[in-house]
Amino acid sequence: MTYRIQGATGEWEVVIGLEVHAQISTLSKLFSGAATAFGAEPNTQVSLVDAAMPGMLPVPNRECIRQAVRTGLAIGAVINKWSRFDRKNYFYADLPQGYQISQLYHPLVGEGAIEIVPDDKHPDVTKVIGVERIHVEQDAGKLMHDQHPTMSYVDLNRSGVALMEIVSRPDMRSPAEAGAYLAKLRTILRYVGSCDGNMDQGSMRADVNVSVRRPGEELGTRTETKNVNSVRFVMATVEHEANRQVDVLESGGKIVQETRLFDPDTGTTRSMRSKEDAHDYRYFPDPDLLPLELDDAFVEECRASLPELPDTKRHRYETALGLSPYNAGVLTADADTARWFERLLTDSATRQGKSESDVARAASNWLTSELFGALNKLGKTLGDSPVRPEAGAELLALIGDGTISGSIAKQVLEKMLETGDSPGVIVEREGLKQTSDTGAIEAAVDAVLAANADKVAQYRGGKEALFGFFVGQTMKAMQGKGNPQLVNQVLKTKLG
């Protein structure tokens, strides 16, 4: 499944690296006590430090450092116990200090790796993408150009918010790999809790580095497309940019090292500035801050506080719970889904007096096909599902002990989503209990056979495929409440 661009002159290979900016989920900013909530009124979350008033000084927020270290540990990265903050100097109206405090020379987190599944259809084919480093830095404010006819306004709420810059190795070779990497990274960040991963709110955005080359040859010149803010857009950026570069090269042109912008409306990228216009950022160690020195106890506390991570969890679902790779992948792709599932599992096992591994397959199948399907139709997600795991477990128990059939369970689920009532209440109220009363089943079977004498004759004449028809008619007559096994038995007997 090697991805290649078929050019007029032959095949081209795409080389991709991502620099992902992830906002660290903390209540206050990287170097000040100001709040970080999304969507506040402009300039209501700005301290004297964030506005760079004269004489103000940065003081590192321990929790931001802690979250970045936890993230590093979650991707198996080297934690640098000695790191340092540098100033990146440039002038812009959204940058009050005239410099961004970042980490160029000595980042907090070194080499790590992320395992991805490039293609959902082949959940057991994985690839490891290298992470070069994670460093911590300040976000800038935001310019507002639509507030005044001739002036721009500045909102400093984001100024000084903590970001992690997570820099991958140029290890990706297709749009799908780039998409899978970003999605997997987001999954990990959400598991760790170090970033909410809400790309539509700007909590996570990617700078996409793309170059093309003849397979196996030296790396080509890359372009960097800035601030791409969804998995889909990252894939589109790679796709468009790679094809554009191939077109340029094949028509005898050269790729210019430049910064580009992605336009979501057209799905294309355009040039923002070339290397010649690039700033000289004059990086140097921030003299307001001491080097950041971490002790073993701090790092160990970070490690101990990590939850079970997606890869480990997925592996456990497959081996200990016996789930299919596909289900294991779907259930672990998101920390909240996994949490939901594990609650469902625990409650199901308790209610049915069985072990978790005994109920896991039924629970995972119900969740991934029944509940996800139903929620999808309603345009809802698990997060705003009216059905909670406790109610799901009750429903699964009703199926498990034969109170209702699988098909009735679908009806019950619909009612649960509609009313929010518990499945037990719905089954009772609507009289949906499965009947195992052989007398009633026999009566229903007799009526069906009597009404379809012609088909009975055909069946007895050898057309055995009609058996399913009789089952269906009987179940229909019984409003789906007949115990399917008993219905089968009775039919078999009566049809001889």
Partner: protein
């Protein structure tokens, strides 16, 4: 009540406590002296007589109700206009901050008010503390109260804390705050016959002090004598969680531990400071200093600080580099001056604002700093300078294995006349040659008056101590002070 202005910190504090006079009387006397002298000296950019009186009234009320009084109860001081003072204009002597009124109080000034001091006004300085003669202020030169014998030419009060030195020497402030990046407390103190100490880097919080060069800037007291410096430093120093480079150490009781008995003390005399063509008066006062310290019981040792000759170039790379970045925030966007020419875009606004707002010396240092941090030059200048800085610090570490304190002159000459060195920046920078090494190494260092030169102008002696050993520096300073018997005062000509 003019005799009240003759008093320093300890005398005022004790007099107020005993009830010899009230704090309000003291504040009134100093306010009057400021009003009389400032038109001539230009030491204050703004005066704040009401602040001084309000602080004094609080002290008097506290005394009459029997409450405990602070270390500086009733002492009216001048505040260098680099310290942010809530509700009072803070300019760093730059047009770019003219009219800027901070909604916050610097940590050091707050500590001084908490100790019972009152503010007479905001003291003039070299613009953004860049200068050695107080001739770079956007609010005019400060004039030293000192004149050479038989000469009425206006003399430099030193810089950058020139308003501070002028005011304390002229007896229009009991004491003043200074800040020192490469000598800005010590050189002005030497020029005006007063005492001043730059403590170990990190002793005083930098929070709320307009930054010049963050890794070098330190606040300290400028006062009539060593004891007053010790008292005032106790009030200024202390750990501040708002400054990441602040030292988390208790503040010693330097003033109560003062002693001029130097028996067993070893004093180092660095041979590299014997510059070719060293001014004869300065050389003589250095020899006097050696003799006084011996007299106090110290043993004098010849030492070497081999990297001294690189200190000045190193300083003039590191300080401008940091300044070029620290001063980027003055951009016309949020506060201070904004120049917005017709049709100007953002870049034009920056250019116009900074062109109009910064003085020539500030611009020169921003350019130097920008240059040394630029791609292609960074390693040759900035990285190299940081390495040399480490070597300079190591020189001192080695020296302090042998000696306890180091004695040098504070400045290569006595106060020069205004305008004498403004045409040649390099000659001006040479004024810091003795003071800069201790700044680069973050060491405590002080200047104490040693005597007058042939022209009747004060000379200072410079003491450098181990990190955190302000006590050693102060004690040696006290020994010199007692033996030098410096009692000269500028004749009042204003």
């Amino acid at each position: 009540m003019s005799e009240l202005t003759e008093l320093g910190i300890a005398a005022i504090r004790d007099g107020v406590a005993k009830g010899d006079f009230t704090a309000t009387e003291v504040a009134g006397a100093f306010n009057a002296a400021v009003a009389e002298a400032n038109p001539a000296l230009n030491a204050f950019i703004v005066t704040t007589p009401d602040h001084a009186l309000a602080a004094a009234a609080k002290v008097d009320a506290a005394r009459s109700s029997g409450q405990p009084l602070g270390k500086l109860a009733g002492v009216p001081i001048g505040m260098k206009d680099l310290f942010a003072t809530e509700g009072v204009q803070t300019t760093a002597a730059s047009h770019i901050l003219e009219g800027f009124i901070p909604p916050y109080e610097s940590t050091v000034s707050q500590k001084l008010w908490d100790a019972g001091a009152g503010m007479l006004g905001k003291l003039n300085l070299d613009q953004f503390a860049m200068g050695s003669s107080n001739e770079t202020s956007a609010f005019g030169n400060v004039i030293s109260p000192w004149r050479a014998t038989g000469d009425t030419a206006a003399r430099a009060p030193g810089g950058s804390s020139g308003g501070s030195s002028s005011a304390v020497a002229a007896r229009i402030a009991a004491a003043a705050t200074g800040t020192d990046t490469g000598g800005s407390i010590r050189q002005p103190a030497a020029f005006t016959g007063i005492s001043g100490i730059k403590p170990t880097y990190g002793r005083c919080s930098r929070w709320g002090i307009v930054a010049f060069a963050s890794s070098l800037d330190q606040a300290g007291p400028m006062a009539r004598d060593v004891t007053d410096c010790a008292i005032m430093l106790e009030a200024m120093a202390g750990f501040d969680p708002k400054d990441s480079t602040s030292l988390d150490l208790p503040v010693p009781q330097w003033s109560t531990n003062l002693s001029d008995d130097l028996k067993g003390l070893k004093v180092g005399i660095p041979r590299e400071y014997r510059l070719d063509g060293l001014n004869a008066d300065v050389a003589k006062s250095w020899d006097d200093g050696i003799a006084w310290l011996k007299d106090a019981g110290a043993q004098v040792v010849d030492i070497s600080l081999p990297h001294t000759r690189y200190a000045l170039p190193t300083y003039y790379i590191i300080a401008p580099a940091e300044a070029s970045s620290n001063l980027a925030r003055y951009d016309g966007v949020r506060y201070g001056l904004r120049e917005l020419p017709e049709g100007a875009g953002l870049q034009d606004m920056y250019a116009a604002t900074r062109a109009a707002g910064f003085g020539p010396e500030v611009k020169r240092r921003i350019l130097i700093g920008t240059y040394v941090l630029s791609a292609g030059f960074y390693d040759a200048y900035y990285t190299q300078a940081q390495k040399v800085r480490t070597l300079i610090a190591r020189d001192f570490e080695n020296a302090f294995k042998e000696v306890d304190v180091i004695l040098t002159p504070t400045a290569p000459t006595s106060a020069f006349a205004l305008g004498e060195k403004t045409s040649d920046p390099l000659e001006m920078y040479l004024n810091d040659v003795f003071s800069v090494p201790a700044s680069l190494a973050g060491l405590p260092a002080m200047s104490v008056p040693a005597g007058l030169d042939g022209a009747g102008l004060p000379l200072g002696l410079h003491l450098i101590g181990r990190p955190f050993d302000e006590q050693g520096v102060l004690n040696a300073g006290l020994a010199i002070e007692r033996r030098a018997g410096f009692a000269a005062k500028p004749a009042k000509w204003w």
